[in-house]
Symmetry: C3
Subunit: 358 residues, 3 copies
Amino acid sequence: MKRTALMTDVGRDWDAFHATDISSKLPYFSRENRLYDCLFSQQFDRDLLDRLFGVADRLREVTQSKTGADAVRRLLSHKRAMLYFVQPSTRTFLSFLNACHILGLKTSEIRDTSTSSEVKGESPEDTVRTFSSYVDLIIMRHPLPGFVEKTAWFMNRVKRPVPIINGGSGKDQHPTQALLDVYTLHRSLKGGPEGKTIVMVGDLKRGRTVRSLSYLMKNYKGVKLVFVSPPQLRMEADILDFLKRHGIPCREADDLAPVLPEADAVYMTRIQDEHDKAGESKSLDLARFDFRAEHLKVIKPTAIIMHPLPRRHEIDVAVDEDDRAVYWRQERNGMWVRAALIAHIFGVDGLIPAGDKH
Amino acid sequence: MKRTALMTDVGRDWDAFHATDISSKLPYFSRENRLYDCLFSQQFDRDLLDRLFGVADRLREVTQSKTGADAVRRLLSHKRAMLYFVQPSTRTFLSFLNACHILGLKTSEIRDTSTSSEVKGESPEDTVRTFSSYVDLIIMRHPLPGFVEKTAWFMNRVKRPVPIINGGSGKDQHPTQALLDVYTLHRSLKGGPEGKTIVMVGDLKRGRTVRSLSYLMKNYKGVKLVFVSPPQLRMEADILDFLKRHGIPCREADDLAPVLPEADAVYMTRIQDEHDKAGESKSLDLARFDFRAEHLKVIKPTAIIMHPLPRRHEIDVAVDEDDRAVYWRQERNGMWVRAALIAHIFGVDGLIPAGDKH
Amino acid sequence: MKRTALMTDVGRDWDAFHATDISSKLPYFSRENRLYDCLFSQQFDRDLLDRLFGVADRLREVTQSKTGADAVRRLLSHKRAMLYFVQPSTRTFLSFLNACHILGLKTSEIRDTSTSSEVKGESPEDTVRTFSSYVDLIIMRHPLPGFVEKTAWFMNRVKRPVPIINGGSGKDQHPTQALLDVYTLHRSLKGGPEGKTIVMVGDLKRGRTVRSLSYLMKNYKGVKLVFVSPPQLRMEADILDFLKRHGIPCREADDLAPVLPEADAVYMTRIQDEHDKAGESKSLDLARFDFRAEHLKVIKPTAIIMHPLPRRHEIDVAVDEDDRAVYWRQERNGMWVRAALIAHIFGVDGLIPAGDKH
């Protein structure tokens, strides 16, 4: 369906639009072969992933010199972004903020709504549209599922649209987290994710990151997945079905140690007990799902250990010093790939100068 | 009265200064034929309005190209501003913040006082003077009437003065809101406000914006005003007297529809029921003061619909798509005219490069 | 002890490291004859003080012209700083923030921890390390004594270290406050502190600034100190012992007026009654420790009056207009010497261009 058709047909009615399946909606959020809004991890196909990772790689290489960093900072020095984070999230906020700074965007912050006019009876759409008046980009995190998508849908219909990037919308979508996870596999595994075995560990039922990462593996050939979790926190059936449909082999396990020797990447997650209904996580024997220092001896020399952070007990701090622990680099990868995404949206990714090493 | 005389005479005594009528005070807040502080809408005469609007027009034109935007961003790249907003106001705050960013000013924010040393028994004057140490400009919003003026008066007497811009001081003055309203009339009405009929609607008694706008109409010839409100929320007598003295024709009405055909500009406002003493607004029949979609058929093709925002029910959202609805542009006008004001205060308005189109 | 030795020996164990005396620790926080982290006032020897003051003097001179200010702003335009202020301190925060802006550093702010992942059970070390991922410098204020030092110790051991500047750590250390106080003596007293008589007044027992300033006087020859306080708020014995050991003459007094004629600098402080255990300050006769307008007649024409601010009653506001009252300049000195410190840490102090006057 063409973008214009959507705008004139279901585009006029949010409920009808929202009910459409995602793949039909995607053109509405793209322009001229680029993302205009970044809302869903379903927007990332292999071609786009490769483009974004290439941009991220170039950005970090070029900015190693002051000359390069200053040149990159001039790419979007004429643009202004707003970080509209009405749900607390310090690390995602900081990651985006510094991504903006790398590209020279000036930034405004909304970090809670108590000071906004929403309290005077203004509609959320009016509030966002007002804020959009001052800037060229909105990066939004919101507790309500669908709110960021609705904002992007709505902002595409006004006379002065601005792109919207989803910085986390309820529990449903956090596409740039998925992006940084795949970028880390791309960057830290020789040859990228293709043909690799990825072991995901912990709270697979409630972890948004492992769900998105599993989904995005359809873009890579020969990936094998192993899901290690307590029986109560298994990966949901919709993802298992999806993997089956796409011919991605996966199996489940309830003990980490025996699985480790075959892993190319171990993706650790924390138990999200804040979503417990009645403290049910407390009764689980979680020790079997922790990565301990002794496990370093059994994983491959080329394996990597990932974690979306924050971490609690599930990775021993003694692991941090091992070169295969890449979770801190994963954080930095997030900043770089977010900068790449913004450069892509504004169409300046082709203007990044060559690094000094070229 | 000369600035120096005021400084040595009543200038030493705030109470005496404050009691002086505004027109006598104005020289104290100007330097070398420019505003130094921007405190009152009474500071805007026709000549200054035309200068500021010309600057705003040039800024927005020049910044359409990256080259122009980067040149404008270098105008005040050596200056630092503080936004001292101890009264919440997200939109005015963002408007000023982005105006600063357009001109390249670096910004610091104070958005509440709970973290400041005021709690340790410091005087408000000391607090402001300390904060002024780090910057070249203070943009201030404060809940106490007169506080911003007192700060400017006081800061003019210290060894290292910095200009003060009033971002809203109690209920008495919000000069840049008045400025953006007149700028919108200037920009969206062919030929500007002269000879036009302006219909102001809603809570005229308690709305600061309609009061200031009425006042500033003295700068334009042939303006006619129509005040449409519930009888309980009529424009106050002081403004009606002022208009009479200046020969500005005005009349009152209590129903919007019959008045609309003659309007060149319809200035809608919301009922400020937060100022109700006992919920008296609830008993009013407000439907007669709403602008509905069907009204679009009766207004002139050249008419404009304004609103200071936030809006509630008083303008139907279906009106938003009409080209005559300019309230979103009005928001953006605010950012540009604030940038123009800052450029004027620092005397760099003459340095704005020509746009690409020239 | 060499830095490498410390890293391999006690460097691996925080408790052992922390227990080491400060002079042995200093090499751990320096690199290539420069501070890497700024944690203790004990890091400032005479040579470093002179270097930093020279840099601060040059920065403020050069930035008087727009050309110079823009050049200075390019020195660190490729770097990003984080102001991690989990203890409220508006003025220190603003002073550092604007110091960063002068040098062109982009800034991120953490001003409370309630929105951070610390609430999800993350360790403070992980939180700081995560935040450090995005930036090149952390300026930290923290309520816990030793926390900033521990952070710097810890961050020196990770693969991607960033320098840490102490912006106030509990009640024990606030080295940049000490720095700005000495810089003010250097700048406002002809010939600097050498051979001068410095009178410190007020709450000497609980005031961190007077303790650090006394300590740093060991770097200057011929300084004499006079401590004027109520008997209950006398300078602590450890500082008196330190001065004795270093042959710095000092004496105590309990009335300000008789001491004033010999003062080259009068360092006023406020009574820190927030540290009272049972309101004991209220029973003190504090009038004898106030600097009143009539005292201006008895101090030397070359004397200066300092105060770390905020002030309450202890200096009459009528004193502000006297040229010898330098406390507002002292505030500005703080911003400049902090900018100098940051330039020093990044090794760009040698790149500051010459001012127009040279």
